[in-house]
């Protein structure tokens, strides 16, 4: 698949005594829909936080398209093409759905610095916003404030805001958490569709194994900050260590909402 999109070298992170990432050497290839799984506290969210700049890197390096981005601030990574969604809905609550999506579009197109020009004249931005809303299926709700949306719509918006930044690499942190089955199917279909279009490479953190195995081309299993297993769904399914970890764990744990 050519040069990897993003690679890490000896990426480590500690919270006090707890190790949440230990010497991780990972690489994400362009166009490969990857899932990250693992029991609670395995370091999945930490990994995303490190890669997207949410947490400062304590040691190790991150390269994106060959460029060292270890110390790059969040917004610069976003501009380079790395974006994420959040596990707990994290949108702009008092703004309308359209405005929510418009902010990343403006930032990406370099128009968000324009102080005098009216938004209503930014026709390209408006068009792109509408296209994005159509894509995630929120066009009818475009003038609704985010606070007034249903939970499922909020999750869609969450993904929509992340997508609007037109990332090359997009991390989705439990995108279907708390969704009802209908909404879940819709969202997954969306993701699959977008992945097929090929502009964006998805990396998904999920607890729902059905989702993981139906969606992914590659699965990374984390355990206590280390990579337990990394391979195709079939390889992972057959891995003895993975079985051991998951059997020893209370399954309900997988659905607990942990921090961030």
């Amino acid at each position: 698949m050519g040069e990897p999109l993003l690679t890490t070298q000896k990426l480590s992170n500690h919270f006090g005594m707890v190790c949440t990432a230990r010497d991780l050497d990972l690489s994400f290839e362009r166009g490969v829909l990857t899932s990250i799984i693992g029991p609670n506290g395995a370091g999945k969210s930490t990994l995303i936080n490190l890669l997207t700049g949410h947490l400062p890197v304590q040691s190790g390096t991150i390269r994106f398209q060959g460029r060292d981005i270890t110390r790059l601030p969040i917004h610069k990574r976003v501009r380079m093409g790395i974006c994420r969604s959040f596990q707990i809905v994290n949108v702009f609550p008092e703004l309308t759905v359209a405005q929510n999506v418009m902010i990343p579009v403006l930032a990406r197109t370099g128009r968000s610095w324009r102080p005098i020009r009216s938004l209503s004249r930014e026709t390209t931005v408006l068009r792109e916003t509408e296209a994005m809303l159509t894509k995630v299926g929120l066009l009818p709700e475009r003038d609704t404030p985010a606070t007034a949306l249903s939970h499922g719509d909020l999750r869609l918006l969450e993904v929509g805001v992340a997508l609007a930044a037109a990332p090359m690499l997009l991390f989705l942190d439990e995108p279907t958490a708390g969704m009802n089955p209908v909404e879940r199917v819709r969202l997954l279909e969306n993701i699959r569709q977008l992945a097929r279009e090929g502009r964006t490479t998805f990396v998904v953190v999920e607890h729902d194994m059905d989702v993981v195995f139906s969606l992914s081309e590659r699965i990374i299993v984390l355990h206590r900050g280390e990579v337990l297993c990394d391979g195709t769904p079939a390889q992972v399914r057959g891995d003895a260590k993975v079985r051991e970890v998951y059997l020893g764990d209370d399954v309900s744990d997988l659905f607990r909402i942990n921090e961030e």
Partner: protein, 322 residues
């Protein structure tokens, strides 16, 4: 479209009414209207920071003072050209705001408020102590209102209050228009995004800290504009312009009027000045009554006078339609 037209009509009506003030009202009313407009410029600019971006600053008096002293010192040492003076005042305010903003925008919420308070008070004591330049606590006194030279040797006098009124009105209208545009602009939306969710804004690709600095400096420029105009109006610049009690004024009027709208701080400022004036005519105990009025407004008008009234209006309109 209809709403936009209505909007424009209302704005023109206000502008027209303001233009009529010098011809219809008495001298003191002209003066008070000027003070209301100055506070309006100060507050409407400040509210870009508080209402639009969600940052509470207690240091904007420093930029107001920078504007006034900038104009005063420019007038004393370089030129008494009022427009150049105002430009010098605004430039001074922008400079001070850049310096203070650079330090402060790394924090938010109460820490930002306290940091700006500290910086503002440092500017205050700096002005107080640099007696040779600033005149210490007496301030700069006797700042002149020279005529405004235009092309072709025409000079517009602004010496009397009636003339100066239009000078103020010009900047007031310009200032409000600029803020109105900013609120409708991509930049304004980015600021609102930062207010709603700063972390998410970063993940939308917005360099949050730089935007905060930009809006901080911008609101500082408005403070400087108001300060330089006040220096012309009252012919003085004084250290208390930089004091935190003065920095609290735009906060107070933004809250009074409502910080989520353009008109909120303007209405708040008008209420603040008019109310004090009215109360003072009836009693020496103006603080008591003013305090009581404040209580009533805070508890009775959640979201400020403008916010509450427009919500009521909307409800009534909805009922009418339904």
């Amino acid at each position: 479209m209809r709403a936009q037209t209505r909007n424009a009509v209302a704005a023109s009506a206000v502008l027209l009414a303001l233009c009529a003030v010098p011809f219809l009202a008495g001298k003191f009313a002209i003066y008070l209207t000027m003070r209301i407009m100055l506070l309006g410029i100060f507050a409407v600019g400040y509210n870009l920071l508080l209402g639009q971006t969600g940052l509470l600053s207690f240091g904007h008096g420093a930029f107001y003072a920078a504007g006034a002293y900038g104009l005063g010192l420019f007038g004393a040492h370089v030129s008494t050209h009022p427009l150049l003076g105002v430009a010098a005042g605004v430039a001074a305010a922008v400079l001070v705001a850049l310096l203070i903003g650079y330090l402060c925008v790394r924090h938010t919420e109460i820490y930002f408020a306290m940091l700006t308070l500290a910086c503002g008070m440092m500017v205050f004591s700096l002005i107080w102590n640099l007696r040779e330049i600033t005149g210490g606590d007496d301030g700069l006194i006797g700042i002149m209102r020279a005529p405004v030279p235009l092309f072709g040797g025409i000079k517009i006098p602004i010496g009397t209050d009636g003339q100066f009124y239009f000078f103020v009105l010009f900047f007031f209208a310009l200032g409000v228009w600029v803020v109105h545009r900013i609120r409708q602009s991509p930049f304004g939306l980015a600021l609102a995004g930062i207010r709603e969710n700063a972390r998410r804004s970063e993940f939308a690709g917005v360099p949050v800290r730089r935007y905060r600095l930009a809006v901080f400096v911008l609101s500082g420029a408005f403070a400087g504009l108001a300060g330089s105009l006040e220096a012309l109006l009252e012919s003085n610049a004084r250290p208390f312009m930089a004091h935190w009690t003065h920095s609290a004024e735009p906060v107070l009027v933004s809250l009074l009027g409502g910080m989520s709208s353009l008109a909120g701080p303007l209405v708040g400022g008008a209420i603040y000045i008019a109310m004090r004036e009215i109360i003072q005519r009836f009693t020496e105990n103006w603080m008591l009554w003013f305090g009581i009025v404040l209580l009533v407004i805070i508890l009775g008008f959640r979201g400020g006078v403008v916010g509450t009234l427009s919500a009521l209006f909307r409800k009534a309109a909805a009922k009418g339609e339904g």
